[in-house]
């Protein structure tokens, strides 16, 4: 009697084989096709990731940058250097590091909390709200807080810009400022944390 080798033959009585794990041509080809789909999807996904990288090179705040008015404020035109003596107690203004106006994230809110020599009495924070990235109002509101026009987040300038109201969940990053011999306010450090919504 001839030996049966074809497992599909009903007369075949070889050792039991778990069909589920058997590799045959059909299964191998099916998996090959599935892998092909995967590779196809990947081939689309990877170039899509490359599309992200269209961001421009943007300037960053550096220690020593002199501050200039971001826009016209109280009779002082935008682009003019910010003099420490210009600021009255309780007044807040917004300024860019000189020559770095291309990046909105560089916008700095400077507030005079009290009179003082040099940088004494001055505080500076990022002007970008940590909630959804709007620019906070330059002036303080009637409670003496920094307020955001978008969703009314509020920050206390005398307490490291801690959140005192609204939906923001993080204080505005602070930044050290100094006053140059000419009386211009300048950056003297880095933001204490990530700018804007993290």
């Amino acid at each position: 009697m001839e030996e049966l080798t074809d497992r599909r033959d009903p007369r075949f009585s070889g050792p039991e084989v778990d069909e589920h794990w058997m590799v045959n041509r059909r299964r191998a080809l099916k998996w090959l096709i599935r892998a092909g789909y995967g590779a196809f999807a990947l081939a689309f996904a990877l170039p899509a990731l490359a599309l992200r990288a269209l961001s421009q090179q943007q300037t960053e705040v550096a220690s020593g940058d002199a501050l200039v008015y971001a826009s016209n404020a109280g009779g002082r035109p935008g682009g003019e250097p910010v003099m420490a003596n210009d600021l009255a107690v309780g007044e807040g203004i917004q300024a860019f590091p000189q020559g770095k106006t291309d990046n909105q994230s560089n916008l700095i809110e400077v507030i005079r909390l009290a009179d003082g020599e040099g940088a004494e009495g001055l505080v500076a924070y990022s002007a970008i709200c940590t909630h959804l990235g709007c620019v906070v109002y330059a002036g303080l509101n009637q409670d003496g807080n920094i307020a955001c026009p978008c969703h009314n987040s509020q920050f206390d300038p005398s307490e490291d810009a801690e959140v005192t109201g609204g939906p923001a969940d993080r204080a505005l990053p602070s930044i050290e400022v100094s006053v140059t011999p000419e009386g211009i306010i300048a950056v003297a450090g880095q933001f204490s944390g990530p700018v804007g919504p993290a």
Binding site: R52, L54, S55, Q104, L132, G133, Y137, N152, P167, P197
Partner: protein, 491 residues
């Protein structure tokens, strides 16, 4: 010369039985009469011209077989009821948006690169929109485009509300409900993308907020946001990306889903008011045929809308550039349009203390207010067909008639409650102007819908208004005034 003979049709003006549509029952004691088929008027009035028409029609017919198409789809019956035109209004707004959009695209430049205009440095897109504003007809088209966007969102929303309150999302129309809700989302997305294009102060603020919300998604947020917004918004890559999405990707998706939506309506037939059962056999739709009567009605509606939008645009200028000016270092106090104001309202009142830190990233109030919350609302809407008790189980019947809201008090109550809640989020969006604290806003936004829901349920359980019975397929015939569909009468 003889006056051309028109076919005079005797009998009551009732939607008649025809070869293609034998399903209308004649009123008792009445013999059904034939309404002239397409072309019959013309054959009677101008036989020579009709012959020429016929030979032209034959030429086309021998090549692409339009008669078959007409036989298959041209006789589709459309129920005639005011609320059955809301979906059409949405698609007509879409057509108007495409037409006016193409015109605006001829002038608009999707670039935020600075250009010098009259000694002032402006983003190129802003300058091109200023050019559009300086050309009277282009400015008119821009206003029509903007108004049509509002009309499209509104009519889509009203269409959805009508379908919901009358239970038309139930078997066999669940899939079309899903497609419809997807279309609403696409419409909202298209509207949001349109905010960015003028690149004024408002555009940069609103789009920037959208970007920040997208970035707040845990784990994938940064990649997704930079893909969608063309880098860290605003960069030079942003406007071209948003422009492509606004004028091509999203409209193409809307067109595709519209096609699927209409095909499914043809497949499943319209759900109809209960009174239709008294005139049409079960399984048949009472209405006017797509060609020529419904087409005529729709054409009139389209022209009416187009005209109304022009009048509206001429009288009320919407979002002129001068209102916000070019983007500057500051952020103007802006609120989104009404159709996104509810999300804004929720963002306004979500407490900062909701922040969670998880292994895959921080879940902040931005994510909860901007993504999770609208996501929950839309999930509930998506799942309506499966939440409805009357649509569960193996032996659910095919619901071919509208269910009057008064007969489904639970559905009515939930729908009214959800709408009231959305309305209260509008209030939340203005809570500062109204002098409400966040806590007060929260209480109000929960108490008012609860009260309204209780009242709705009470009223719905007690009253069964006459108009509701008219919509009820199971209502007795006796006091029902039979509704006839007017057909053109020979004079």
């Amino acid at each position: 010369m003889n006056t051309p003979q028109r076919p005079v049709v005797p009998g009551p003006s009732i939607m008649p039985a025809t070869e293609a549509h034998p399903g209308v029952r004649p009123a008792p004691g009445e013999t059904p009469r034939q309404v002239p088929r397409t072309g019959e008027w013309r054959r009677a009035a101008a036989p020579e011209a009709a012959k020429r028409d016929a030979s032209r029609a034959d030429w086309i017919d021998e090549r692409i077989g339009v008669t078959g198409l007409n036989a298959k789809y041209g006789r589709k019956a459309f129920p005639v009821h005011t609320t059955f035109f809301l979906g059409e209004m949405a698609s007509f707004s879409f057509i108007i948006l495409v037409v006016t959009g193409i015109y605006l695209g001829l002038i608009y430049i999707p670039s935020s690169a600075p250009v010098l205009v009259d000694g002032q440095e402006l983003p190129e897109a802003y300058a091109s929109v200023r050019l559009i504003e300086s050309i009277p007809v282009a400015n008119l088209f821009r206003n029509v485009h903007h108004w049509a966007a509002h009309v499209m969102v509104l009519s889509t929303l009203l269409h959805l509300i009508r379908i919901f309150f009358f239970g038309s999302y139930r078997k066999p129309r669940e899939l079309n409900w899903i497609i419809g809700v997807v279309m609403l989302i696409l419409t909202l997305v298209a509207g949001f993308l349109g905010y960015a294009l003028p690149f004024d102060s408002y555009a940069v603020t609103a789009t920037g907020i959208g970007y920040s919300i997208a970035r707040s998604i845990p784990f994938v947020g940064t990649v997704a946001a930079e893909l969608f917004f063309g880098g860290a918004f605003p960069t030079l890559g942003s406007l071209p990306r948003l422009y492509t999405l606004h004028i091509f990707v999203v409209p193409a998706l809307i067109a595709l889903t519209t096609a699927a939506h209409i095909l499914l309506v043809i497949k499943n037939k319209h759900s109809q008011p209960g009174y239709a059962r008294k005139l049409a056999e079960p399984g048949r739709v009472l209405g006017v045929p797509a060609w020529p009567y419904q087409a005529l009605l729709a054409g009139q509606l389209f022209l009416l809308m187009f005209g109304a939008l022009f009048i509206l645009s001429a009288l009320f200028e919407i979002h002129p550039l001068a209102a916000y000016g070019p983007p500057g270092p500051g952020t103007p106090a802006v609120k989104p349009d009404w159709y996104l104001l509810w999300v804004y309202g929720f963002l306004d009142i979500v407490p900062a203390s909701l922040t969670l830190t998880t292994p895959i990233g921080t879940i902040g109030p931005q994510f909860i207010g901007g993504i999770v919350f609208p996501g929950i609302i839309f999930t509930v809407i998506f799942l309506a067909p499966w939440l409805d008790r009357t649509n569960r189980g193996r032996d659910v019947p095919r619901y071919e008639y509208l269910q009057p809201p008064a007969q489904a008090p639970v559905r009515l109550t939930i729908g009214v409650g959800l709408l009231t809640y959305i309305g209260m989020l509008f209030v939340a969006g203005y809570h500062i102007e109204l002098g409400l604290s966040i806590a007060q806003t929260w209480y109000l936004s929960l108490i008012v819908p609860a009260v309204v829901m209780a009242a709705t349920y009470g009223i719905a359980r007690k009253r069964d208004p006459a108009w509701s019975r008219r919509f009820d397929p199971a209502a007795e015939d006796e006091e029902e005034e039979v509704l006839y569909v007017e057909a053109p009468r020979g004079d």
